[in-house]
Symmetry: C2
Subunit: 80 residues, 2 copies
């Protein structure tokens, strides 16, 4: 079994509405924060061998989970 | 400036509707995956010193961002 994580964040300069909302609500609740950013992480398990599994997670990250105009992503292999 | 991340995941046994949907759609698109899980990461910057900033991020994680019944969270200090 091969495990990978795909961590997706917004590119520099792309507005993060969720982060803006969290920052605003935190300030309302009395928590002063200088900045907030959000990232999403997907974790996948594959039965294939390393090469095939790696190709598949790259395809999934590039073709399905992200929009290259606004997203950056990082793939990490996780312990089995 | 102090930077921290709060990584939030669902507790064992708690259903992850988003992960279920992603897995189903991936299979429809021809990507066979054994399992999918999702995590959310919030990144915060604080002006306070270490002690105060650490206390604040713990309060934010515990009191605001998570529900102890369904969530686990992990706080990490990030490079400035």
């Amino acid at each position: 079994m091969r495990r990978y994580s795909v961590e997706i964040s917004l590119r520099e300069g792309v507005e993060d509405p969720e982060a803006i909302t969290v920052a605003k609500n935190l300030r309302t609740l009395g928590f002063r924060v200088s900045s907030v950013a959000t990232r999403k992480v997907y974790e996948f398990e594959f039965e294939e061998g390393e090469e095939e599994a790696r190709k598949k997670v790259e395809d999934i990250a590039r073709k399905i989970l992200t929009n290259p105009v606004i997203h950056r992503y990082e793939i990490r292999e996780l312990d089995p």
